[in-house]
């Protein structure tokens, strides 16, 4: 299990290539990358605040929950905080398993829980000003799937 909370950028491809690479019992690897989106072409930057200490323990709890629910060979979470530019990777999750269903479901589960249970808050700085990204009822509802 690899969990990193950092302000530094990270290389998604290199991280994925080195993830679980020495395991022979893996048939499926799923990755999710969250990227700073700039749909309206007006985003200056995204500021991500977090709760040091709680962040790491909350992510670890979620990852351990995933490991207890699915047969996973390995799991990885990297999540950035600080100021990010449009197009930059915010975070990634990767899951490795013998079979694809476990890898898919565990990654999907991780994202649902990281979204609503890991203490990060996003603020968008646009030409019009700054605004905190609001959580959606759908994000909380998504947890009921599991």
């Amino acid at each position: 299990m690899i969990i990193r909370v950092q302000s530094d950028p990270f290389d998604v491809g290199a991280t994925l290539n080195s993830f679980a690479q020495d395991r022979r019992d893996i048939g499926a690897v799923v990755s999710f990358t969250g990227v700073v989106r700039d749909t309206q072409d007006d985003l200056h930057e995204m500021q991500i605040e977090h709760y040091p200490g709680m962040t790491e323990s909350a992510i670890k709890t979620i990852a351990q929950d995933a490991v207890s629910r699915w047969r996973l060979a390995d799991i990885l979470v990297i999540h950035r905080y600080g100021n990010l530019k449009p197009g930059a990777p915010i975070m990634m999750v990767a899951t490795a398993a013998a079979h694809r269903v476990a890898a898919f479901e565990a990654a999907d589960f991780m994202m649902d829980y990281l979204k609503s249970r890991a203490p990060f808050w996003k603020k968008e700085i646009t030409q019009a000003g700054a605004s905190w990204v609001a959580s959606k009822d759908a994000d909380e509802d998504a947890l009921k799937r599991w």
């Binding site: 709760y51 609503s116 990060f120 990204v133 959580s135």
Partner: protein, 81 residues
Amino acid sequence: MNVMYFAWVRERIGMPQEQIETQAATVAELVAELTAREERYAAAFADISALRVALDQELAEFDAPLSGVQEVAFFPPMTGG
């Protein structure tokens, strides 16, 4: 007791954390005490349903007891991922 604020709660109260001496028995009592103190707290705690609270870095309910708790954190719903 160390009380922390994040995101717009932090912005409204105007500081990231503070030490508070309180006799409040529950989170709700602490919120009432802070709300009565100054307008900026009242603004931050105006709509409790829009807030979350963590006690010693674990999510909790607003009726949870504060006995033995060393760190309380108030923040909006999280938007990670």
